[in-house]
Symmetry: C2
Subunit: 339 residues, 2 copies
């Protein structure tokens, strides 16, 4: 590899594509399942259980931000989508769309970060693809990951399992990812050491499920749109129930609180990349909370509210002064290209 930037030829399927694959992708993603060049990866039969399949594209700007980068995000996001579905994440695919002129060093850093995050999460990136578009036809680098996992037999999660009286838990402070990116973009990074919470949650989620078998009823990672959007989606899918959360119980970093006040944002709608919400049978709440807190990614876990038979179809926030207000579904989360 004598070139220092990406050229159109790197995406054209000839010798230069092959060199890029060997020098960058095969070098970092090395694992027994990695597909040789353009073929599909052929892997052992999956363990028993339901197949889980998910995909996300990542277009975050900037590519590197406090606490992470687009590569780490692309692995964590897809691992977390599998994990909150109850699946053990096993294999990822990775598709790259590169802008002509992208420094090869940028790509290499991102790919190395993906490989490191995949190792940390215990998943294998087994197949990849690269396309190159002309300068100006894409903004630097986009990544798509798809993920395959297996849901153990007997585990069922979802709207049909949500019950009045379920406790709502979150594994730590909310809004860190969204605010870290917004402050970084505003060049106010010097004002705080706030970092994205970007992390693979599969280990934490496995611990939560083990702590109270059959008692976790639903999980969701609170990414785009934040905590308030996830809870609103839950009551849309289970419209006979309501959700009541306690403002004071929601873990919030002082830097997120201050940043939100400065920027006029609500942290409950700010993106997270390492936070999940758990609906847990009331009697199992303390066991699951203890399991979350015992995990390094759950030190600040908290019970933030309950599923209720009243307020059907609504998410209601109780303020410290005892008043209640409805948290609506927003038309859009006001932070573009956050993931």
């Amino acid at each position: 590899m004598h070139n220092t930037t990406i050229l159109m030829a790197h995406g054209a399927g000839g010798r230069m594509s092959r060199e890029l694959i060997r020098a960058v992708f095969a070098a970092h993603f090395a694992n027994p399942g990695l597909a040789p060049l353009s073929d599909a990866a052929v892997l052992p039969a999956l363990p028993p259980g339901a197949l889980a399949l998910t995909t996300d594209s990542y277009v975050v700007q900037p590519l590197f931000f406090p606490g992470g980068d687009i590569g780490k995000l692309a692995v964590c996001g897809t691992v977390n989508d599998l994990a909150v579905s109850g699946a053990t994440p096993l294999y990822l695919s990775a598709g790259f769309i590169l802008e002509e002129g992208l420094p090869l060093e940028t790509l290499t850093c991102v790919v190395a970060s993906m490989a490191e995050t995949a190792r940390a999460a215990g998943v294998q990136i087994v197949t990849d693809d690269t396309k190159v578009v002309e300068r100006g036809a894409a903004d630097q680098l986009f990544i798509n990951t798809a993920g395959v996992g297996v849901v153990p037999p007997g585990l069922t999660l979802g709207a049909a399992r949500l019950c009045a009286g379920d406790a709502l838990l979150v594994n730590g402070t909310v809004g860190d990812h969204g605010l870290a990116l917004m402050l970084h973009r505003q060049e106010m990074a010097f004002q705080s050491d706030l970092e994205s919470d970007c992390a693979p949650l599969n280990g934490l989620i496995a611990a939560a499920l083990d702590a109270a078998p059959g008692q976790v009823h639903w999980m969701r990672d609170a990414t785009r749109g934040g905590l308030a959007t996830v809870l609103n989606e839950w009551v849309l899918d289970a419209p006979a129930l309501g959700i009541e959360i306690e403002e004071e119980a929601i873990p919030l970093r002082p830097a997120v609180r201050a940043g939100c006040e400065f920027l006029g944002l609500d942290p409950l709608y700010a993106a997270n990349e390492g936070k999940a919400v758990f609906a847990v049978a009331g009697e199992a709440a303390s066991a699951v909370l203890a399991a979350l807190r015992a995990h390094p990614l759950g030190e600040n876990a908290a019970m933030i509210g309950r599923v209720a038979a009243d307020h059907a179809g609504r998410v209601v926030l109780r303020t410290p002064y005892g008043s209640r207000r409805v948290l609506p579904m927003l038309a859009s989360e006001p932070m573009p290209r956050i993931c």
Copy 2:
């Protein structure tokens, strides 16, 4: 959906994202496995056999071309990558990156085409994702598809199975996709009715495998870089063997031959999106060829050459005059954004 173009809010995870998903994706991709909104799809356990996983991103320009569009391509390409690996394609994921301002009608046409192609191929699109980037940060619309399939127990394909004496078959005329796009871009479409060969090959490939169980040794779809690139990759992976092909035996449409002469291109390096190369045990060649020709996508199938013990590591073309020349691995195929 009152908007006629894509807005940033359609990718921001709130109410407008949900409306877009319902109006466009859920409406067209409707199937029992389709993941509700942002979750992973949870599907029945796979049938016995090895898991196959593949991914490709699609950045073709223009989005609509004679014989296909980016949506049809995104389904066929991934189905074909699975099929040539010996897998029965089952499930696809679809990730969309949209440029702000994209007409909603364009997206709807592409999604409808994906759905129609998936039905024709017998696969289900079970999970999707949409990101929107600002005007100028992407060129209209990019699609990533990942695909999951199962390789039946006992089926092994690949370099280790390639033998001297294997016959090389192709299921029809080469270069149609690449030339159809190039001529269309040159606004010379009026000069020919050449169309892309874009098609899902899983049915044809199943017929070929059934015709001579265990006798098909290797398959590859001849996409970017065309027939010559696939054959060069084969000898790179099986360097003790050579490949000899007969120029006269390679099926070529007159319009492709004429277009290549006009544009100074070699049809053997031009992309195909509905053509696969098969290495088949010599004694089974006529049975597999008959099976290919009996399929609607294989009417023009031909035996184009043989794997040989000489010319190790090289692809050699025999001209009608009896002379031989080496077909090299090109640095890059000279047609950008062909898929």
